[in-house]
Structures are given as structure tokens and as C-alpha cells.
């Protein structure tokens, strides 16, 4: 080997790679989420890491730029807790159950403090993450025409097609400081497998500077290798792997547990009243030391959500 080897950037980078990336949620948030960061906890209805969001609140992070297509209950909680400086999003409602009142209070009357917003459509957010994953500064896409959105978001621009002369809308790449991705399973290196709705989990992971993967199960490399097409996020982009069963509740993990729709419906009234929301956070976020305690505290309530069985047929990878 050449004698100058240890000065090479690739070698330094390699030396940072640990044998296992497994750590607790508290360690992962401590190491990889800092005050002022741009944070993306993704998952389109499916695989939303409530466990990670709650730990961010427990650790008292501040001035975050929160990004998600659908802020959902999780970001409503985080906005209410005051950790967000800015929200980047495309649809801010309680899916199937009404408004997100904490989000509305922040935007309509600056409570608990003023929240800056940067708003796109779903397609716009998807394209921003695809551009970020590809390390392109922008991507063209056909939306926004005939909408007032470009008038209120100057980040929406356009480009002239060099072939047709047509003017196409563009969005800038979104490259979060950290993406937090829930998944069904991963090995200790972070090779992550997802089935069911994929959302933008892959793009989020490739777009971000650091990636925390949270899983229902840590599996051996052999399980991953038995079905390589199931791998959505490769370990090489992953910074931390956290084992957190039931880590999505009240969101869901296909094949593990159903969405807790009763809670989504109940959130309507909780979030409508700031004091009820505060006592929810006191009890279920600040009042527990982590997801395991949350699960214990939920008790029987969770078991009714456990998934029934509907197994895939295996396929042959032999040659």
C-alpha cells in the first residue's frame, strides 16, 4: 500500500464506519439531530417515526426546520412543543379526521410562536427529495401551473427546455441535515427493507446528510440477503440503526400493526385545546423515558392493533 495512504480522504471516511450502527434512540438523536437542523421524519401515513419525534422533544431541540409532505399528528405535536422555527410541507391536515389545530394556531395567530412556512404540492416535495437524492440542484416537473402557489413561494422557478423551448416549472433540491426513516426491518449495518407503502423513504435517505433508520426488527444480514430486491435503503447511506418496536404508533407498520385510527380521530379534540395538547405531551412524551415505556403504558390498547397474517409467496433467487 502506498505510504501516503492514511492521508487519503477515502481512508479517513472508511475508518469512521463502525462494525455495527446500532444504538438507542436517545443516542441517535443526541448524535445526529442538533439545534437549528433541517429535519425530515418521513413516511406517507405508513412508517412515521413518532418515537424519534418524541425523543427530539424530550431532548429539547430548538429552532428546527421540519420537513414532511404531510406534517401529520407528529409535527402538530412538535409545533405545539415549540421546537420548530419553520415548516416545509405540502398537506397539513389530520388525514381522514380534520385539521391540525396546533399548526393552525401557529400560522393563524403565532402560538406558541411564529412559524415560518414554505409550501409546495406533494409532487413538488417529491421532486425536491428526488433532486436531493440525485445531488441535482433542481428538477423540472409539470405542476403549479394555474395555481397561486408560485406567487407565495419564490423557490418555485422555471427552466426552458433546450429541445422544445417549453418553459417548465422547477423545484430546488431538498437536502436535510438528517432524515429519520422508519422501516419494518434492517440489519445492524442499516441495510433496510420496507414493504407496503414506500412513500419517499428511499429518496429521503439518499437526500439527507445523515440518516437514522428506526425498525420494528433487527435481522441478521442473512435475512436481508435472502431477498435483495426488498432493500429500499442501503446501509452505506445510514448513520444509525435504532430498534424500536411499535415505534410508529399511532401510525402503522404493514405486517406488524395497524394504524390507531381512534387516536387520529381523538387528536382532533386534543389538538383543538392547547391545554389538552400540553397535558398529552406531559403524559405521553415528557412523562415517559422512551418508546418502550410508552408501549408499556399503552398496555392492552396496542394489542388490538397487532397485524393479521397475509404472507407473500417466496421467489427463487437461484441461478
Amino acid at each position: 500500500m502506498p505510504t501516503e495512504a492514511t492521508d487519503r480522504p477515502d481512508e479517513r471516511r472508511a475508518a469512521e464506519r463502525p462494525g455495527s450502527k446500532r444504538m438507542t434512540m436517545a443516542e441517535a438523536i443526541e448524535r445526529f439531530v442538533a439545534d437549528g437542523d433541517t429535519v425530515l421524519i418521513e413516511g406517507f401515513t405508513h412508517l412515521i417515526s413518532f418515537a424519534a419525534g418524541h425523543e427530539i422533544l424530550r431532548q429539547g431541540r430548538r429552532d428546527l426546520t421540519l420537513c414532511r409532505l404531510t406534517p401529520d399528528l407528529l409535527y402538530d405535536q412538535m409545533i405545539a412543543a415549540g421546537c420548530a422555527r419553520k415548516l416545509v410541507f405540502s398537506w397539513a391536515g389530520n388525514p381522514g379526521a380534520g385539521p391540525l389545530y396546533a399548526f393552525r394556531r401557529a400560522v393563524e395567530s403565532g402560538e406558541p410562536h411564529r412559524l415560518e412556512i414554505e409550501e409546495y404540492t406533494h409532487f413538488g416535495m417529491v421532486a425536491r427529495l428526488a433532486a436531493g437524492a440525485a445531488k441535482l440542484p433542481f428538477l423540472p416537473l409539470r405542476t403549479f401551473s394555474g395555481s397561486d402557489l408560485p406567487a407565495v413561494n419564490r423557490r418555485i422557478a422555471s427552466v426552458r427546455c433546450p429541445y422544445t423551448g417549453e418553459e417548465l416549472p422547477t423545484v430546488p433540491a431538498l437536502e436535510p441535515d438528517v432524515a429519520i426513516i422508519h422501516a419494518q426491518r434492517a440489519d445492524e449495518q442499516g441495510n433496510t427493507q420496507i414493504w407496503g407503502l414506500l412513500g419517499v423513504q428511499r429518496e429521503a435517505a439518499f437526500a439527507a446528510e445523515k440518516v437514522v433508520v428506526v425498525v420494528e426488527e433487527i435481522v441478521s444480514e442473512e435475512v436481508v440477503r435472502s431477498d435483495p430486491n426488498r432493500t429500499v435503503v442501503p446501509g452505506l447511506v445510514v448513520s444509525a440503526v435504532v430498534h424500536e418496536p411499535w415505534g410508529c404508533h399511532p401510525s402503522f407498520a404493514q405486517g406488524y400493526y395497524d394504524r390507531d385510527n381512534e387516536f387520529y380521530v381523538a387528536w382532533r379534540e386534543i389538538s383543538r385545546h392547547p391545554e389538552r395538547l400540553a397535558s398529552y405531551l406531559d403524559e405521553w412524551v415528557y412523562g415517559v423515558d422512551g418508546r418502550a415505556q410508552y408501549v408499556d403504558k399503552m398496555g392492552e390498547g396496542l394489542q388490538r392493533l397487532a397485524a393479521a397474517e397475509a404472507w407473500s409467496r417466496p421467489v427463487n433467487y437461484g441461478f
Binding site: F44, T45, H46, L69, T70, F89, S90, W91, A92, G93, P95, G96, P99, L100, F103, R104, V107, E108, E119, Y120, T121, H122, F123, V126, A127, A130, L141, R142, T143, F144, S145, G146, S147, D148, L149, V152, E166, W195, G196, L197, L198, G199, V200, R202, E203, F252, Q254, D258, R259, N261, Y264, A307, A310
Partner: protein, 261 residues
């Protein structure tokens, strides 16, 4: 759209929302590819699948393709949409390849405000920077409005919803006249039909035109709940009421818990 409220009136053995679901289902043609929303659009599509359109292909924004939900989905990403579906697309594929790719025949949209050209506001009531009411925003609505072969609109009539001017235009309908979309180069056809709790409208020369009154409804009630003088079709019809079969399927099979009816 909000769930059916106490003001729903029973009209000859069915509710206005049952009428809307049945009327919307009848608009769907077997073999079409439909971009489905939760609530009434989902009920309409699954009703049509059980009647005239067994091969209607249901695609949900969340990525489920060819879904056959065995329970009423309560969110656009309900796990029941995935189990036994024909495929799952990532959202990059859904927006770039399916919607922008021109693969969707019919899209359903709703709006907090709708104007006479079928333009929609789901963003704010009041000023954008200092809104009186902040609504959820576009989600996928703007791109559905641009790319689906045609749009079916669903809404409950009230002057608050049907207003002459939108506070914010989230998703384009026919802009300000019949050929505006074509001139603007929009790929999809835009709103074709609007079904409300009172009546059905076609977009003729791009403008909402009353074509059918639901049983029990009157032109006067329609006029009271629109923010402008509505255009009338020359041959105004009465919507056939929901059939026994439609009502049976809606009530006993599709939404027995009356979540959306």
C-alpha cells in the same frame, strides 16, 4: 369535505350523501384508471366496481395500485389498500410516471372554495400571509387537477363554498373560460362534472352549468347556495334516485358504520 352532519335531510329514504355517492359512481366507466380520494370518492369508486365497472382500476396517492380494500379505508394510506393490491408504486413513480405520465383517466377533487370555472381553494381563507383560516393546502390536488384525463368534483352546496372569487387558487379548473386550459397547455381535461348534495353540473364552455336536480331539490335552493347566478342547461333533468342495490351496497357492504354517509 366534512363528514355528513346533522343538517343532512332524509329525502325519500336516502340521504344527500348517499345520493352523491351513487351519482358519482354512475360517472365511472369500466376499465378506467381512477385516482381515488378517501371518503365519498372511495365509496363511489368501490360502488362502481360492484356494479357497472368491475374492472375499474383504483390508484391511491399513497402508492397502492389496483387496490381492493376489504374494509373501508380511513386514510389515503390505509394498510387495507396495500394488502392484495396489484402493485405498490413509490411516490416518485406515482407523480412522475402515473400522474404526469398521463396514466390517470379520472381524478376526484373537493374544495373548501369552488368558483364557477371549477377552480379550487384548499389553502387559506383570508390572506395567505395572515390567514383567517389555514386549510391543509394542495397535497396532490394541483397535479391531479392538471394531469387527470377528467376531474369529478364533489361538494356540499353553500355560499361559503361556491364563491365568485377564491381567496387562493390552489388547483386550476377551467381558469376563466372554456378554452383556457388548452391555451395554457394543461395536459388533462379539467373538471367535467360536479356533484353536490343538491344537483349535478357539467362544465360547459368551462362554466358550471346545472344539468340535473337531485330528487327533492329545487332551482331556488340551488340558487340560494351559490355565490353567483348559475347557468342552466336547456334540458334540465332530475337525477334518478339511488336504486335499492346502490343503497344496499353503500349501507350494508361499503360503509356499514356510516362513517362517510
Amino acid at each position: 369535505m366534512a363528514r355528513g352532519t346533522d343538517t343532512d335531510t332524509d329525502t325519500g329514504g336516502f340521504t344527500p350523501r348517499e345520493m352523491m355517492a351513487a351519482a358519482a359512481a354512475r360517472e365511472l366507466v369500466d376499465g378506467q384508471v381512477v385516482f381515488v380520494g378517501i371518503g365519498l370518492p372511495n365509496l363511489a369508486c368501490n360502488l362502481a366496481r360492484r356494479l357497472q365497472a368491475p374492472d375499474l382500476l383504483l390508484i391511491y396517492e399513497s402508492g397502492a395500485v389496483g387496490a381492493v380494500p376489504e374494509r373501508l379505508p380511513v386514510s389515503i394510506g390505509d394498510p387495507a389498500l396495500v394488502t392484495n393490491s396489484l402493485g405498490v408504486a413509490s411516490m416518485t413513480e406515482i407523480f412522475y410516471y402515473y400522474l404526469q405520465g398521463g396514466r390517470i383517466d379520472v381524478g376526484f377533487l373537493q374544495g373548501a372554495q369552488i368558483d364557477r370555472f371549477g377552480n379550487l381553494n384548499t389553502t387559506v381563507i383570508g390572506d395567505y400571509a395572515e390567514p383567517r383560516v389555514r386549510l391543509p393546502g394542495s397535497g396532490g390536488a394541483c397535479e391531479i387537477a392538471l394531469h387527470a384525463g377528467e376531474i369529478l368534483l364533489l361538494a356540499e352546496q353553500s355560499p361559503k363554498v361556491f364563491s365568485e372569487r377564491l381567496d387562493f387558487r390552489t388547483s386550476p379548473g377551467h381558469l376563466d373560460r372554456g378554452d383556457a386550459r388548452r391555451r395554457a397547455g394543461f395536459p388533462g381535461g379539467g373538471p367535467r362534472r360536479l356533484i353536490t348534495d343538491l344537483a349535478s353540473y357539467d362544465f360547459i364552455d368551462g362554466e358550471m352549468t346545472l344539468v340535473g336536480l337531485h330528487p327533492g331539490s329545487t332551482i331556488e335552493r340551488v340558487r340560494e347556495s351559490l355565490g353567483w347566478e348559475v347557468r342552466l342547461a336547456t334540458d334540465l333533468a332530475t337525477t334518478p334516485p339511488p336504486t335499492e342495490e346502490e343503497l344496499h351496497l353503500l349501507r350494508e357492504v361499503l360503509d356499514p358504520g356510516r362513517l362517510y354517509l
